[in-house]
Symmetry: D2
Subunit: 348 residues, 4 copies
Amino acid sequence: MTKVAVLGATGMVGQRFVQLLENHPWFETVCLAASDASKGKQYGPAGNWVLDTEMPEFAGGMAVSGCTAKEVADSGAELAFSALPSDVALRVEKELAAAGIGVVSKAAAHRMDADVPLLIPEVNPEHIGLIEAQRQNRNWAGFISSDPNCSTCQLALALKPLQQFGPQQIIVTTMQAVSGAGFPGVPSLAIQNNAIPFINGEEEKMEMELAKMLGTLENGAVRHANMEVIASCNRVNTQEGHLESVAIEFADRPSLADIAQALEQFRGAPQQLGLPTAPTQPIVVRAEPDRPQPRKDWSAGNGMSVTVGRLRQKGSYTLFSCLASNTIRGAAGNGILHAELLHKRGYI
Amino acid sequence: MTKVAVLGATGMVGQRFVQLLENHPWFETVCLAASDASKGKQYGPAGNWVLDTEMPEFAGGMAVSGCTAKEVADSGAELAFSALPSDVALRVEKELAAAGIGVVSKAAAHRMDADVPLLIPEVNPEHIGLIEAQRQNRNWAGFISSDPNCSTCQLALALKPLQQFGPQQIIVTTMQAVSGAGFPGVPSLAIQNNAIPFINGEEEKMEMELAKMLGTLENGAVRHANMEVIASCNRVNTQEGHLESVAIEFADRPSLADIAQALEQFRGAPQQLGLPTAPTQPIVVRAEPDRPQPRKDWSAGNGMSVTVGRLRQKGSYTLFSCLASNTIRGAAGNGILHAELLHKRGYI
Amino acid sequence: MTKVAVLGATGMVGQRFVQLLENHPWFETVCLAASDASKGKQYGPAGNWVLDTEMPEFAGGMAVSGCTAKEVADSGAELAFSALPSDVALRVEKELAAAGIGVVSKAAAHRMDADVPLLIPEVNPEHIGLIEAQRQNRNWAGFISSDPNCSTCQLALALKPLQQFGPQQIIVTTMQAVSGAGFPGVPSLAIQNNAIPFINGEEEKMEMELAKMLGTLENGAVRHANMEVIASCNRVNTQEGHLESVAIEFADRPSLADIAQALEQFRGAPQQLGLPTAPTQPIVVRAEPDRPQPRKDWSAGNGMSVTVGRLRQKGSYTLFSCLASNTIRGAAGNGILHAELLHKRGYI
Amino acid sequence: MTKVAVLGATGMVGQRFVQLLENHPWFETVCLAASDASKGKQYGPAGNWVLDTEMPEFAGGMAVSGCTAKEVADSGAELAFSALPSDVALRVEKELAAAGIGVVSKAAAHRMDADVPLLIPEVNPEHIGLIEAQRQNRNWAGFISSDPNCSTCQLALALKPLQQFGPQQIIVTTMQAVSGAGFPGVPSLAIQNNAIPFINGEEEKMEMELAKMLGTLENGAVRHANMEVIASCNRVNTQEGHLESVAIEFADRPSLADIAQALEQFRGAPQQLGLPTAPTQPIVVRAEPDRPQPRKDWSAGNGMSVTVGRLRQKGSYTLFSCLASNTIRGAAGNGILHAELLHKRGYI
């Protein structure tokens, strides 16, 4: 068993990590780290558990650790899942990597660094190779490997098998769940009976991160994909599962049948390697006229599958709606699958 | 005072008509008509009032009439506001028009008929001229003039002052309120903590109706506007106010300042004529990063103004969000303004 | 395997029956019956599936049957779970019983009949004995045995182990979920951002049914329990899990510790008999200050356990909050457990 | 015009004060005070306006003041409306009173002090007399007069005209809106599709404050009313308007007609004095079976009236539901009416 830590363990995404790490076949959670406010307390009371399922038994009695490299290393953890706020991540994650710990980070802090992989195991497993350069550049025994933004992750996954058709322009409008803002996150008074056409920084993240993840590794660096991405991000009053309306113009004008087949038959490295957290089918295509829906489809593939529906054409555009769990595939679940790939490839 | 009837008076839109007709300076409501199930009952109990404000006093004690031409004509009504279901409207509205009654209809039944105006008073007041041809074609003493679909109405209004810049492609994703489906409409079990990426027939309506309303009257017929409209319609859990994310490619590439100015300074026939229901400012532009929001902006201009926000550019596209009350500007309020224009122009 | 039918299979509770009967170890579903509107269609399309989980595979392709005794008997079903509307149940259920079919009914139609058991297997299993009298009275080869109202069921279960302390007055205020009204049920426009202090007939049901279920079987008849029940029923905007605030005055003034122990240690016939659908612990007591909560506790014991929290005393009253799934323990789940008891006792 | 300050002006209740003070005929707002984080900024940006209506024009450009007695006194304010957090109020309000400023406080800090009025102008206007004792005891030129807790305020108002019938036991279950917790207050993730059977300290406040407000002023002190109050407080997912289910046992067993008449005909000091913020009818009784409802009734009497419905009897108990706006009658509106009474009586 590889010993792992969760940083930011008391937050929303941290709790998802704790939940998904229960009974993991390869990883043993030895350290739950959080801010100084919680440090030293038992995780049970400190964790302010917000998920609907019960807190895993292993976690409740663990003492919350601080987030310094020393404290994490002292726990014996070789790998740290980071759900830290970006400003804290910027400071802490480098220290951990320097101290020989592998960091799989959900924070935005290092996502666009040229030598940091921004990884979805089904989409760009080869980007893992950036770690070599990173270690050399930064003289680190450990490493940092980033998870993408939640609304970007599901779209990148849906686009991967369609890249062969030459996507040139992608216009996406998101309807994002409140869990994407963490806990306490969005006040009920702000979002009940309402929708908010703005999420700070989200559109820029979608536009930049998609290009990096769909880019190619060439000579040890990522060449970003060349396509126009135009995002409009909205918050709606759902709890889990970002719904996205997508319009794509492809160079090759594939038929709807070609697209549906490419989506359904897509399998990536996690499926080929049989990674424990890999969904059997990364992309589920639904034929009903009114799917995907957040409440019905967020948990497809245990929250690891993207559901695509309403596939249709209009003029030169291919249109569809897509949805995945933003806290599982869009955060902690992708992070764990990501770590499983790193483990399989010998990075940890 | 012109005597008016409301057809479909017990439904959601019918109730808005009743609400807005209270104390109208030109129109006196003499007939509340509904299906046979309610006929003969008092409107108060039969109406199953769902609006948050109290039912107007004048309405509660009126006896509900049937919807036949004879019954409506017997009430003395010269004008009928129709909020009938489309299949009923298809049958009833022609009879009324033949019987000499002017029908302002919210039903989809006749919207795309070549000789029926599809009217937003600020957008295409000149289309009213189709009524001459209609009367001749159909040998009617009365007429039918249609109101557009709710999600289309607000977008057409926002586009009108931008038509000068040559819109070529319009990609719109809607987040529509449940009141758009009437009452009882959307079950709480279907939409709570959910969003539904489909509204039957809505995308087609947006695509067809926009082109007609933004078209030009030439030789007594409407030449539809030549532009590509791509709509994706979603239901979200809000009560009132459809939010729309819009991306437009203009031939003339206007600056954001030009666009903002055109929107803010736009005034149409209702403002010039001082019609009673006309909002002072048909389009309100907000500079805050997170507006328009349904709960905060649906009632702008007493529900008759469209709010536009998040104006920005990305590549060759101009992006914005827009919102208006779907049951006032998008239904009954536009219908009454529409009737005021007809009255001013001598059609009733 | 005992062959069973579901009557009213396309409704909300009917769907829960279908869901819970998948892979049942004793019961094989051979008939899905519904109104004439669905008759003859495949259940998949006709069923208009509203539950968040996928429809069980066995059901999708079955042809929907009519609800007559002949049609149900022809399917080979020995037992019918009825989720029919009460007026239909009143007509149909007797025919089935006369035709030799056992009916476990969720309908209110026969609940208060003196010779019909109103059954919660943990609460009053001995009431099953009424079936003898019923068969004799009515000359039936089959029988009718009723499930209680959903808000009553969970309260009766919580009260059972406290009956030893002599409850004299029970004042209960409910906050009931929209699924209690079926599908389509409560319109979003009616309940969003709202609460409704009235559910037609609900308070009377709670007051009457509690007394019957907590009554004793004496000489082949139920002597109703002697206690005052005062109910105020409210609809709130939750999907599943009725929350109830309860104040009870006990003759014996038990301590909170006595009450907590009685609740937690309570086990009934289903637990003793090891019935397949029996929860290990019928009543879960939570010590946190803010439980039970609908979203967190509705699925306790797979929806078959009642959660009790906020146990406290004030003056001569014992106070607590309780909650259970209204469509599982409060409807289909209790019905199946009920049938398991009947099966074990040889009635089917 | 009397110059007034609002303390805690950037919070939820503070914003209601600012909203309701716009164009007040007697009070001129000269000081908007908040915590050091906002001090010196313009109120517009600092205020983070959350109400659905637009921020009053007068407020947007005012500089936010600190909350010290010196800063408030320097503004010229003679009266301060305090919407401060209780711990801050405990420190600040005494300084203001000592400095000669009258404080009408929404904070819980001083509500139960024996020489501080806890005032609802229609309920216990004579308690204002405590101010004499207070000034003498504390050697203050100013004073502190408290507003009650929001869920208590509406119940006290509904009970006032019923006190003549000898209420002995009051059992109340509340369903409270999220605005009662301020802003940001309750996270959407906590309350969406949920209800929470606990609000910290609320039940104790209801039990204590009711007895004080319904008590009698005897020899310069309040003798608390002698009645048992048992409260169970729940948070539900509504925005405004606490709904309460109430069961009362009266010594005199009044008829429902007597009760309805007493409620409807009740008028208090504000109505008799014609205070500007006084509702015409403090208590509105509705005969419909399903009222009051938060969304439909919260704004009765501009948010200053309590709506009572579902009046009925069961055993020895009189039952009803009541509701009022928790941020207007339950907070800022009562505070302003309270100040109007103080003004009329010469205290400011």
